[in-house]
């Protein structure tokens, strides 16, 4: 059996595929079915709001991964190679439309499996569709150059696809991360084997059905579920995968680089963790700053790679800011993700819950002060109270390590130089923000911060048109915008001699 019936308050009952979304290029009979798996291992899906089991999903073993890679290779060298760039673009745009038509279903699954509020889940699906549509528009605009060297030669470059791309995505924004990977890879003419996170495989499997409906040839996009240690590792070590794109923790990112070195030196791009500074100057508009600082850490329950988890406030407004921030935090509604009033739902799993609570204990034992929160919220479900630590030292674990929960630290700074210095005091470099009314402060501090994205007077303002990625240990390469195309193409130079050899 490859599907089960689940239910959500928004959709009522719906059919949830649980097999592997493989579109075996060898067999046209199996073209539109979620296929059977060779491995019979399953992973249980827990609803983080009430800790109950939703269903079990088949996990791809090494042999399944191999079948998926073979299907991707066959279609890369076969039917997909004959689809024009324009054709690829049309398929992506069609897929975007299908996402929009199925907005409620996909959002409901996201809330069910991940625990995020339903309003935010709908936002995720809308952005996923926009991202796919954006890359649909790029497909027929990926151009090489003609480069004039001398009259003896006619030279040009081609931007060719890389080949079979393995993509491993996280659980914090399941479908959004799916679209960030699929969009550019497909626009550039690659084929894909994409592994969802073991905590949140459900929406990817439903999206797999939409891929067939959109009209993608079999084998172009293969969707598999599984654990990192088994399925992910099989993919990253596979000798016929040309490229790996990974979003997840820095620890796993390191393993992926090793796996590439140990196998076929596959190209690697990584989006990893962060400990991003959110810096508020004396002259900031305090109402706006509070709104963005609150959103910067508690959005998605703190489960954002770019979360503004280290808050630096200039000493002139520090006391006032802390008081107002505490008040604002207390207003965040923690509760059932299907309740439209909910802002913060449960953390995604027990493992994450325990981890975050562990950091909270750590913070207390290292001597930091809890301004608000610091405990579990309620008795059922992985809910944690929004938490603020003050009186922190830069070398404390809660200041150096990524917590990935609704927990932040707040500290003071004196001046611009101090702000930049404290902001950069981290092995990470994913994002940062500056809140100020002074244009020159904003421009100088943005230039000084070592982060892939710097926001000014806002936070978490990600857009499919704008490149996003990490400095230092936050990653390699950039996603989104035109920049993502570089991850999925390789340049070939062709140089044609027009005259005789100058020597014989």
């Amino acid at each position: 059996m490859t599907s089960v019936t689940l239910s959500t308050p928004i959709t009522g009952e719906y059919e949830q595929p649980i097999g592997l979304g493989q579109f075996n290029a060898r067999s046209t009979l199996r073209r539109s079915r979620v296929s059977n798996h060779l491995n019979s291992q399953k992973s249980s899906q827990i609803n983080p709001s009430n800790e109950e089991v939703l269903c079990s999903v088949y996990e791809a073993g090494e042999k399944d991964v191999d079948i998926a890679v073979q299907a991707a290779r066959k279609s890369f060298e076969g039917p997909w190679a004959h689809v024009t760039p324009e054709g690829r673009g049309k398929l992506l745009v069609k897929l975007a439309e299908l996402f929009e038509e199925n907005l409620n279903l996909l959002a409901a699954i996201e809330s069910l499996n991940n625990g995020k509020g339903i309003a935010l889940a709908k936002g995720d699906i809308t952005h996923s569709a926009s991202c796919l549509r954006y890359y649909g528009g790029w497909a027929d605009k990926i151009e090489g150059k003609v480069i004039d060297t001398d009259p003896e030669r006619f030279n040009y470059t081609r931007q060719e696809p890389i080949g079979v791309c393995g993509q491993i995505i996280p659980w914090n924004f399941p479908l959004l991360m799916w679209s960030w990977k699929i969009g550019p890879a497909i626009a550039c003419g690659n084929t894909v084997v994409i592994k969802s996170a073991e905590q949140t495989p459900l929406s990817a499997l439903v999206a797999a059905k939409l891929i067939v409906k959109a009209g993608f040839p079999p084998g172009v996009i293969n969707v598999i579920s599984g654990f990192g240690k088994t399925t992910g590792s099989a993919l990253t070590h596979h000798m016929d995968v040309d490229k790996i794109a990974f979003t997840g923790s820095t620890v796993v990112g390191r393993q992926i680089l090793k796996a590439s070195a140990e196998s076929n030196l596959k190209k690697v791009t990584l989006e990893l963790g962060g400990k991003s500074p959110n810096i508020v100057f004396n002259d900031a508009d305090i109402d706006n700053a509070i709104a963005w600082v609150n959103y910067g850490i508690y959005y998605n329950h703190g489960q954002c790679c770019c979360a503004g988890s280290r808050i630096f406030v200039q000493e002139g407004i520090y006391e006032k800011f802390v008081e107002r921030f505490k008040e604002r935090t207390a207003k965040n509604v923690v509760g059932d993700p299907f309740d439209p009033k909910t802002f913060q739902g449960p953390q995604v799993s027990k493992v994450q819950f325990d981890r975050i609570m562990g950091y909270i204990e750590q913070g207390k034992s290292e001597g930091a002060t809890i301004e608000t929160g610091g405990s579990r919220h309620g008795t059922k479900g992985y809910f944690i109270q929004p938490t603020i630590f003050s009186n922190v030292q830069p070398n404390m674990k809660i200041m150096q390590e990524e917590i990935f929960g609704p927990v932040c630290s707040i500290a003071k700074f004196t001046n611009e130089v101090d702000a930049i210095c404290q902001g950069n005091n981290t092995t990470y470099g994913l994002a940062a923000a500056v809140h100020t009314a002074n244009l020159n402060t904003a421009l100088r501090v943005s230039a000084g911060l070592k982060a892939g994205t710097v926001w000014v007077n806002t936070y978490n303002s990600v857009h499919h048109q704008l490149p996003f990625g990490g400095y230092k240990e936050s990653g390699i390469g950039r996603e989104l915008g035109e920049a993502a195309l570089a991850n999925y193409t390789q340049t070939k130079t062709v140089s044609i001699r027009l005259t005789n050899a100058p020597f014989y």
């Binding site: 324009e86 421009l443 044609i496």
Partner: protein
Amino acid sequence: MSDLFVDLTAPNGRKYKQPIGLFINNEFVGAKSGKKITTINPTDEREIATVHAAGSDDVDIAVKAARKAFKDPSWRDVATSTRGGLLNKLAKLVEEHAEVLATIETWDNGKPYSVALGEDVKGVVDVFRYYAGWADKIHGQVIDTTPNKFAYTIREPVGVCGQIIPWNYPLSMASWKLGPALACGNTTVIKAAEQTPLSILYLATLIKEAGFPPGVVNILNGYGQEAGAAIATHPDVDKIAFTGSTATGRQIMKLASVNMKNITLETGGKSPLIVFDDANLEQAAKWAHSGVMENSGQICTATSRILVQDVVYDKFVELYKEKIKLISKIGDPFKDDTFQGPQVSKAQYERVLGYIEAGKKEGATLTTGGVPYKDVNGKGFFIEPTIFTNVKDNMTIYREEVFGPFVVISSFKTEEEAIDRANDTTYGLGAAVFTQNITRGHKIARRIESGTVWINSSNDSDFRIPFGGFKQSGIGRELGEAGLAAYTNTKAVHVNLSGC
């Protein structure tokens, strides 16, 4: 029936509602000028419909509407991805209404229905979709100079764009103009040709349905001397884009100088097609035939001047005549097997016949055709495909653009001679070279003074590749990414970061 719509039944039986007013602020209105244009079906010379023709007062109203819309937040502040979304929606609507649009095109212009549907209207969908994709990818730059300056450029829309399009590909030409203009955030006043005023009015209904705010696209019909001139001289039009004859193009340049409007022009051509002795002659003849005989020869890039290397000249001319016999079936454009329909109007028909007379008078040899074709119920502006040989380079039929199913074929001896004679023209729109020698192909491509060079094909254009003229064939480029340049203004912003 209202004064602004008529119910029509096309020769293929299709019934539809034809708008006949001016389209301003998303509504059809009558022309204050009181003037009208009656359009004729070139296949049987019967009247199709009469539409309102804009005078200078009407143009003024349209320009005011476009200016208002340009400043209005409902268009000015729209996210670029959303702008792209509207163009995508329009593409979808054109696809849904393809058959009606193709029917109107064939009825009014005379091109075969299979071509109107499969190429013209399909091209419109493709162009709108392509530019929809560009809308949110028009990037400025950040340019690092010194630590005291933060400098960046923004690509802004130009403003209110006047656009004047020709009758040879009415809907296609509308899409080449509207696509990039709208993708870049401009508003437009677009005037169709007086010979083919109908299809663009139907397109107007789809523009409204797609959700473009009122005033973003305004569509007028009118006479060139009046409405066209009014647009070109209007002080509140920021840019003019024109496709048509070189003579009119010159006029537009003069008129536009009144407020130094930004100008882009796509004008005429007398494009050379060179056949070397090592060419695949069969293929060369095939492309040389379609390169001037398609669309009844009414193509700006028609490769109407063929230069064949002497040793293969006779064979080529025979092959060419065979292609005409095999492919150039003249007839009612609504019939599936018709290749060549009528010329668009009596004036164009008489013009081509005039060039035939000139050719004979100047002493060239009429090898094929050279007469009207009367076998479509004895009516219609049909002319037989015509070849002149023994043509001297100073003859009018060799130098001037004929714009009909009319080709001159000359011979040459050497490569250098071919290049020189190919460039011996005031035009420079297209050119074609037939050779199996890859080196020669690329080298000649660099020496020919033409905006497009085809190697081993002709008139093989693609909307993703820039298109435009050298010399008197035009100013600026359309299509591809290059097409965006005509519709953006680059603004540089310098921020002083030093304290002083």
